[in-house]
Symmetry: C2
Subunit: 467 residues, 2 copies
């Protein structure tokens, strides 16, 4: 056994201060979700491997952590795969279970399995860790939390409106208006319509992949990618016009101006797209923007972005992504029309978002946006001067605790300096010093560790002071 | 892909109402932990396999879920183990990581790894799931939550006092004085002393195993087990005297009587045990009982139980176990003197407890002890009568939400009956009906779904009513 313990690459421990910050983010998101009528569920960390594979493509399957069967797993192992040294082939015969890769697939599985007990439309939220056998790097972990909310069993666009308002509520609270962020919105049907109107439906996926790179390689780069796909010059012209319209919309606008701009762009797009599908997408977005304009927005920068694609996932309608300058997406989501089909429940439409807690954590830290977490940790420490003083202090300590004040007594009569250092390191604000004078008078000497001030207080006065 | 999705044996989904109940238990425990100065940490679900194995013996190692290495794991597999069909032998070469089996070992690893950043004595709590490849059965799961608190880096018995007071606080709150429970306390040194004083130190472990069965096989059964170990008649006589003293102490006592009884029993034991170790254990327990008597107990039934052993784990001092009639242990813990030694940090004493959330869940459910969780779910639903009404209701809906009231509008103009059923199923208390009359007068028709009463209220009146 090595003497230097460590944890697996890409995983993390969370210290008390990190936990306080994380809980602050989770609680903020949770409270907003609840205000919108979402209910919490949890699913097990382990799912049957067959539930998870084949949902996100072969590349995703490789990122799934598999759990070795218990007991004598070799007795049921695939002999041929062993002989062929075929790791992928062997896995299914020795690993029936796996760690969930996201919260969406387990949710779809949950909905199908519990469909008779669920009241639809079902607004659920779920805040749990997920695991991915990704290459660890800065900001990318093998264990991280997702904070998902989905509405399943309703195709009403009011759901989209709610989700965007939730994003606005959460970041208005977390960023306190001190940080600009953009909520980019698009609709998969518009992307489909654009591709249809240039007659390249067959290349939809490749075109989307190219457009999706816009943020990394700019408009000219995207045009070059499109040329490689053998798309006609007029097709590329139409596509590049759309890409350029995106570039021109960067800047500072009032919310009113933004919504007018979004509307204009949708209109101009409408005149250029000759596709029923595309028109539908434009109408859907117009409805969402109109409602948001009616209801008002607190701090979000809402922007129509015809180049937003969000990969090749399961989205079929609205797509949403939240970004801060020079930072990867901190929240994303969209509408999917057939998430539960894989598990035998067809034609159930859903829409959802997912807050990336780890990235939000970093953004708040970088921008010094965390509140103080005083009440979370110990508020009062009794210094321990010895047996008699300890006996005097113990009932007072419990009086504080019974009044809801987090408090401790140093567990033995260590040197004064050691005890004060302990208070300092733990960020304890009040230190109570009780010697023979204090025991006689019943007045405690209370030191404020932040200001250095000392006062003589009765226990009742101390309780009122801390509260 | 099967059309009937399921989850792995021994794991569970948690529905919204189950989550509300679980969160209630976790929050109660968490708040008490904080009052006593404990700080939260979290560790990753996955640890390096070598961190986990060999801590709880070979039987425990079998219960650890191992995670298959990613990629082409067969390329580094132990060829001989494959040829020998030796599953156990192969595991180490194809699985470097594993799911944690408890929270204690990861905590010990955390302390050693972060020893330079930790202020000792360190009071940490941790509420996370653990995984065991146990045979699933009623009340025993493969994924379940532990709620641990430990104080590490202090051998003061005040820590024991705090932990027992925490148990009293938590169950006083959860059981509301309506359920009797017993906190049994012993000290490993007393067990050692008893065994020493009959001259059978060599058989300590076997004797403890036999005594540990007392609850299952009664005193006579234990005596038979001891005879099998070839213990002298006088030794068995001394041991059985102790076992019988336990039987006699069952009954109803005031707390004062209980503490006197505990003290008497300790005294009588003291006169019978001829062992420095045993005397030390008795003194330690006397200190703990004296302090508890001084500070008072809310609802716990505190009992000295010389037969309490809690398996053959790492405990070296005080041992604690909480039980309800006819139910397995719901909380347990104790002092250990060398938990971090395995990771290279010697002589660090700690003491901790662990609440068994799943069993507590069942106890509260069986005894109907959960509060109502009204505020947790949606409080107000706006019925959707169509476009005009929807537009009228939307700003009112957001006014409620901005006032912290959980509310929804039904997302489309479905049949009235469907919408009312939705409100009923989701347990929503207030339903708001807005038609042309209401839009004209500005007074909303509000139906209380519990009483059936209907009122006409302005939005401000509704906000005040719900708050």
């Amino acid at each position: 056994m090595s003497n230097k313990p460590s944890i697996p690459k890409g995983t993390r421990d969370f210290s008390p201060i990190e936990m306080a910050r994380r809980n602050y983010i989770f609680d903020t998101i949770k409270n907003v979700y609840k205000k919108y009528g979402f209910q919490q569920i949890e699913t097990p960390a382990m799912e049957n491997l067959k539930t998870l594979v084949g949902t996100g493509g072969e590349e995703s399957d490789k990122l799934i952590f598999k759990i070795l069967n218990s007991g004598d797993y070799l007795s049921k192992a695939d002999e041929k795969a062993i002989a062929d040294k075929n790791s992928t082939g062997l896995t299914r015969s020795i690993a029936e279970k796996a760690l969930r890769y996201d919260l969406t697939v387990p949710f779809a599985r949950y909905v199908v399995q519990n469909q008779n007990d669920i009241t639809f439309p079902f607004r659920r939220f779920q805040i749990q860790p997920v695991w991915r056998a990704d290459r660890p790097q800065k900001g990318r972990y093998r264990e991280f939390y997702q904070c998902d909310a989905d509405i399943i069993g309703s195709d009403s666009l009011l759901n989209e409106v709610d989700l965007i308002k939730i994003i606005d509520d959460v970041f208005s609270e977390l960023f306190q208006g001190k940080l600009k962020y953009t909520v980019s919105i698009n609709n998969r049907k518009i992307l489909a319509g654009i591709v249809e109107s240039i007659g390249e439906q067959d290349k939809f996926e490749q075109i989307v992949v190219a457009i999706d790179k816009f943020d990394k390689i700019d408009a000219i780069g995207v045009v070059q990618e499109l040329k490689k796909l053998n798309i006609s010059d007029s097709g590329i012209f139409t596509l590049s016009e759309i890409l350029l319209s995106k570039e021109s919309s960067t800047g500072l606008f009032t919310i009113e101006e933004l919504f007018n701009k979004n509307k204009e762009e949708l209109k101009s797009l409408n005149s250029r797209i000759n596709s029923v599908n595309g028109q539908k997408g434009i109408e859907e977005l117009e409805f969402v923007f109109d409602k948001l304009k009616q209801l008002g927005i607190k701090t979000a920068n809402i922007k129509f972005d015809p180049t937003l694609a969000r990969g090749l996932g399961y989205y079929t309608g609205t797509i949403i992504e939240v970004k801060i300058d020079n930072f990867p997406s901190i929240t994303g989501g969209g509408r999917y029309d057939d998430l539960t089909g894989k598990f035998g429940l067809k034609d159930v439409s859903g829409v959802g978002i997912s807050f990336g807690a780890d990235r939000i954590y970093d953004v708040l830290l970088d921008n010094d946006l965390y509140p103080e977490f005083k009440g979370d940790s110990t508020q009062v420490l009794f210094i321990n001067f010895g047996k008699a003083e300890q006996n005097y202090c113990l009932p007072l300590l419990f009086q504080l605790r019974d009044n809801g004040i987090n408090s401790e007594i140093y567990p033995n009569a260590a040197k004064m300096k050691k005890q004060m250092t302990f208070a300092n390191n733990k960020g304890i604000k009040y230190v109570v010093l009780v010697g023979s004078n204090e025991m006689e008078s019943g007045k405690l000497t209370v030191k404020n560790m932040e200001s250095g001030e000392q006062e003589n207080l009765t226990i009742e006065e101390l309780i009122n002071k801390v509260k």
